[in-house]
Each structure stands twice: as structure tokens, then as C-alpha cells.
């Protein structure tokens, strides 16, 4: 690699060329969406988004009308709020419940521990589809369809196997002496959990929180099933797919709407990418 020969210069150039081309393939679709969302309707439908780069600093070719339209006429503002209301408890609840269980799996002895853990790991591959019909029926009987609480609990149940799996592996790697000396000092498992295990696991917890947050924020299917087809609780993803159905080819609206759904994930991604990647590496089985 260190010798500089004409051949190696050629292959270096080829290497850069391949990578840059692939990066463009990954970047341009999103860039096109972003640019189009700021262009007026007539421009979006009559010319390609790349034409703005002929005069990129001519600010008159950009507008915020599309965003005004989708947020306040198409209900994306309401959907944004719904997404927040759904996602925050649907993240906090499973992380807390999973942390408690993971602690027991890692540090408490009780009958059936191995079997239960095996069941949890096995549940990682169960497609959510196999659970929809029975739960939807119970939900309709109880009037839980189209309620936030119904979505919170469903996301909690669905998120638990991965969360338990990830946190158990992390807790189990903490030093044993730590807990033993705490117990000798008279600490209960409750104290050991809150004062030792949780504070020492902030990196794992951060990964999990980000993972679950993005998972729920980006979820379409669970919301479609349990939100009951009303706009009252529908999150951004559901609203977006409805707009695709009703606007079809009106790209100025659809691009702005899509970007509204992507805004929070993109902020989370750029701010906390490290933790997100770590979460993926720690639990490569999640589907």
C-alpha cells in the first residue's frame, strides 16, 4: 500500500471514484426531497429540482408555502404533536421495564431464569404481524383502539425483547464484586439497581433510548393497526401515507410533508449518531 506506482495511483483514483459515486447515490435522493420542499408548486411540477443549482443563491426561487400548507391545512402539525405524545412514553416505559427485568436476569437468582431468558431472546424474531389480530380484537372490546395508552402499551410490549436482551448483556458485564460489596453493606437489590446498575449503564441506556425513540417515531405499521384510522391520534408516518394517497403526484406537498416526518430523526441522528451505531452493534438481531 505504501509504494507509489502508476498502478496504485490508478487504483486509488478508482477507489475514490467508486466511493464518491455511491455516496452521491445515497445523498442525492434526500437532497432532492429537501430542495423540492422549498420550491413553489408550479416550479416543482414543471422542472427538476436540480435546476435550482443553476442559480443556487437566487432566494426568490424558494418558499415556505409548502410547509405552511402541510402543517396547518393537511394536519401535519397535529400529527407532529401526536408523534411526540406517542413516542416519549413509548420510549421511557419499555426502557424502564426492560432495565428492571434485565437486572434480574443478570444478577438475581430465581427459578425459571434461564428458560425465561431463552423465551425473551426467541421473541426477538417473532414478526409483529402474528400478534395484531388477537390484540386488535381485545382493544376493540375494551375501547382501546385509537387511544394513546393503547399505543404506548403496545410499543412497550413489542420493544421489550430487544431492550431486555441489550441491557442484560450490558448489566452482566458489570463487575461482580461491586454488587457483592453493596449487599454486604446492607443494600437491597432495589438500591443496587438504582444506585449502581443504572448509573453505570448510561452508555447502554442512551443507545437503547435513541433506538427505541427512532423505532417508535418511524413506525407506520403498529400505528396503522391500533390508531384506528382517525386523525386524533395518528402519528406523522400515518398522516404522510394518507397524504401520498390523496395527493399522489403533487410533489411540493409530499416532499414538505416527508421532510416534516424526517426532521426529528435527522436531528437525533446528527446529534447522537455514536450511540445509535453502538445500539445497532450491540443488538444486531432486532428486526
Amino acid at each position: 500500500m505504501s509504494r507509489v506506482t502508476p498502478g496504485s495511483v490508478m487504483s486509488r483514483a478508482l477507489l475514490h471514484l467508486i466511493i464518491v459515486l455511491l455516496c452521491l447515490v445515497w445523498l442525492l435522493p434526500t437532497l432532492g426531497l429537501l430542495v423540492s420542499s422549498f420550491r413553489p408548486a408550479h416550479a416543482v411540477s414543471s422542472s427538476g429540482w436540480w435546476t435550482v443549482f443553476a442559480t443556487p443563491f437566487d432566494l426568490t426561487q424558494y418558499t415556505l408555502d409548502n410547509y405552511r400548507h402541510v402543517l396547518f391545512q393537511d394536519g401535519m402539525a397535529r400529527a407532529f404533536l401526536n408523534s411526540l405524545i406517542i413516542t416519549v412514553p413509548s420510549t421511557a416505559l419499555p426502557v424502564l421495564v426492560a432495565a428492571l427485568a434485565a437486572f434480574a436476569f443478570a444478577w438475581l437468582r430465581f427459578p425459571g431464569r434461564e428458560v425465561l431468558l431463552l423465551v425473551v431472546v426467541g421473541l426477538l424474531v417473532v414478526p409483529l404481524q402474528t400478534t395484531f389480530i388477537p390484540i386488535l380484537r381485545l382493544y376493540s372490546q375494551w375501547g382501546a383502539v385509537g387511544t394513546f395508552a393503547g399505543l404506548w402499551l403496545a410499543h412497550t410490549g413489542y420493544g421489550l425483547p430487544f431492550a431486555i436482551y441489550l441491557l442484560r448483556n450490558f448489566f452482566a458485564a458489570l463487575p461482580r464484586d461491586l454488587f457483592e460489596s453493596a449487599y454486604i453493606d446492607g443494600a437491597s437489590p432495589w438500591t443496587a439497581f438504582w444506585r449502581l446498575a443504572l448509573p453505570m449503564s448510561t452508555p447502554a441506556l442512551a443507545s437503547l433510548v435513541i433506538f427505541q425513540f427512532l423505532w417508535v417515531w418511524n413506525d407506520l405499521l403498529v400505528a396503522l393497526i391500533y390508531a384506528g384510522g382517525t386523525q386524533e391520534v395518528a402519528p406523522l408516518t400515518v398522516r404522510l401515507s394518507t397524504l401520498v394517497g390523496s395527493y399522489g403526484q403533487e410533489w411540493h406537498v409530499l416532499t414538505a410533508a416527508a421532510f416534516v416526518t424526517m426532521f426529528v430523526p435527522l436531528v437525533v441522528f446528527f446529534a447522537l449518531q455514536r450511540y445509535f451505531v453502538r445500539g445497532i452493534l450491540a443488538g444486531a438481531v432486532k428486526g
Binding site: G32, W50, V126, T261, M262, V268
Partner: protein, 288 residues
């Protein structure tokens, strides 16, 4: 420590309750429902499964899932592997990785809109607004209706969007494994006169096999459940339906809960088989 059992019940209890209610019991119940009619009143034996394996439009969904399985899995894993190896050799690796990984952060519904726009079609002669058709026209071709031409073009177009989303996932995991290979092993082979391709083929690749197996398994389990992309981009029209979309239709359009359950059971069966094979191979490798 003494008296651990009550504590354990307190710690594990909520999780066990929730997992039983939302995953274990409904899954068992769905298997049961798949042997009943549309309203779950009368036992119908294997009728729902017979329907799945004989009805022409469900057969098309099976075929599409198979196409997804092969092309999507090969596409994501091979591109992820290629990028993991190539990016290791350049200084802007971190930036490039972020770019490829970015689609993992956004929703599949959002990505579906992004790619519907990429594939947007205008008749020949009109100004194209979709980038792909603009490229085709610039190269002297005629614009195509990527999402309508069946059966290959539109299904491959959807799969392309899927590959765009998931390649970053494969890249991140394979790249971590690639960096875990001892550098002196690679250097030693190079000193012995092996070229880069030989080093990759005979040293790197065998070291990556276990990770490749994990990544491939994950992709297969994912691809069987693919739903959002198809729902947003074509809603299964023009011969692009896949199993998960079929199940949604059976539930909410045809209101046939027996058939919908049977589709779900097929998805479950495939995921289980893949997982069992994977665990078995994992154990064999551990045992060696």
C-alpha cells in the same frame, strides 16, 4: 443473597406480563385462529393455508417476497461488505459512513416518498422531475414508469429503495468486524506477495463469515416483513404485493381473519426456520 425471589418477581413481573400479553399469547392465538373461518367461528382445518398456496394473487405475493429475499439480501449484504472494505482505505471514512447510514434514521414511509419522487415519471418530451428519468433521458434513453412496469422493473425499483435504506446497517456491522481482523495478518499476507484481492478472499473473508451470517440472517428476517415501503410507494398495485401487505389487506379490506392469521403464521415460520439454522450453525462454530 437471601430472599432474592420476591425481589426477582418485582423486577421481572412487569416485563413478563407485558411480553405475555403482547407477544406470547397473541402469537399462540393467531396460530389457532388460522384454522378458523373469516369471523373465527367455524373450524375450517387447513382451508386458509390451501387458499394461500393456490390463490393466484397470494402466489404473486409469495413470488415477490422471494424476489425481495434474494435481491434485497444480496444487495444490502454485498454493498455493505464492499463499502466496509473500501471505506477502510480512505481518510473520509467517517463522513462517508454517516452518509450511507443516514437512511436508517428516517422512517421507511419517508424513504418511500423520497424514492417515489426519484422514480417520478413524465411522458417523453416533457421536462422530467424525477432524477432517475432525467439521467435516462440525458443518456439518450426514453423515460420509464419505474413503479408501473411489471413484473421486474417495479419490483426491483421497490427493492432498490429497500437496499438504499438498509445498506448502512450492514455496513456498520461489517465494518466493525472488518476492523477487528488483526492488521498484521493482512500485512503478513501482503509481504508474502498476495495482492489485495487474494488477501481479501483468503484472509479477510473467512474472518468475516460469522458476522456475514448474522447480518444475512437479520436481513432475511427483515425482508420477510417488508411492508412500509410497498404500502407507501405502490400499495401493492401493479403486481408488487408482498405477504405483509397481503395480510393487512386480508385484515382491513377483505375482513378475513382466518386468512390474515395464516399469512402471519407463514411469516413466523420463515423467521423461526432462519433463526434455528443460524443458532445451530453458531453452536457448531462455538463447539469447534
Amino acid at each position: 443473597m437471601r430472599g432474592e425471589k420476591p425481589w426477582a418477581a418485582l423486577f421481572v413481573g412487569p416485563a413478563v406480563l407485558l411480553v405475555s400479553f403482547y407477544l406470547v399469547l397473541p402469537t399462540l392465538h393467531t396460530v389457532y385462529l388460522s384454522f378458523f373461518d373469516r369471523n373465527s367461528r367455524n373450524f375450517v382445518g387447513l382451508d386458509n393455508y390451501r387458499y394461500l398456496f393456490t390463490n393466484a394473487s397470494v402466489q404473486a405475493a409469495f413470488r415477490n417476497n422471494l424476489l425481495w429475499l434474494v435481491v434485497f439480501t444480496a444487495g444490502t449484504v454485498l454493498l455493505g461488505l464492499l463499502l466496509a472494505v473500501l471505506l477502510d482505505r480512505v481518510r473520509y471514512e467517517a463522513v462517508a459512513k454517516s452518509i450511507i447510514f443516514l437512511p436508517m434514521a428516517i422512517s421507511f414511509a419517508g424513504a418511500g416518498v423520497i424514492w417515489r419522487f426519484m422514480y417520478a415519471y413524465r411522458p417523453e418530451g416533457a421536462a422530467q422531475i424525477g432524477l432517475l428519468n432525467q439521467l435516462v433521458v440525458a443518456l439518450g434513453g426514453s423515460p420509464r414508469a419505474w413503479l408501473i412496469e411489471q413484473p421486474w422493473v417495479n419490483n426491483l425499483a421497490l427493492i432498490g429503495a429497500g437496499v438504499w435504506i438498509w445498506t448502512g446497517f450492514c455496513l456498520v456491522i461489517l465494518s466493525a468486524a472488518y476492523k477487528g481482523i488483526p492488521r498484521d495478518m493482512l500485512e503478513a499476507a501482503r509481504v508474502d506477495g498476495a495482492n489485495e484481492l487474494q488477501v481479501f478472499r483468503h484472509i479477510s473473508l473467512p474472518q468475516l463469515y460469522p458476522t456475514l451470517a448474522v447480518v444475512t440472517t437479520t436481513m432475511i428476517i427483515n425482508v420477510m416483513k417488508v411492508f412500509d415501503i410497498v404500502y407507501v410507494m405502490t400499495n401493492g398495485q401493479f403486481g408488487t404485493e408482498v405477504l405483509a401487505n397481503r395480510m393487512y389487506k386480508e385484515m382491513f379490506q377483505f375482513r378475513h381473519f382466518g386468512r390474515a392469521s395464516a399469512v402471519a403464521v407463514v411469516l413466523l415460520a420463515v423467521a423461526t426456520v432462519v433463526m434455528v439454522i443460524n443458532i445451530r450453525r453458531f453452536r457448531e462454530e462455538e463447539g469447534r
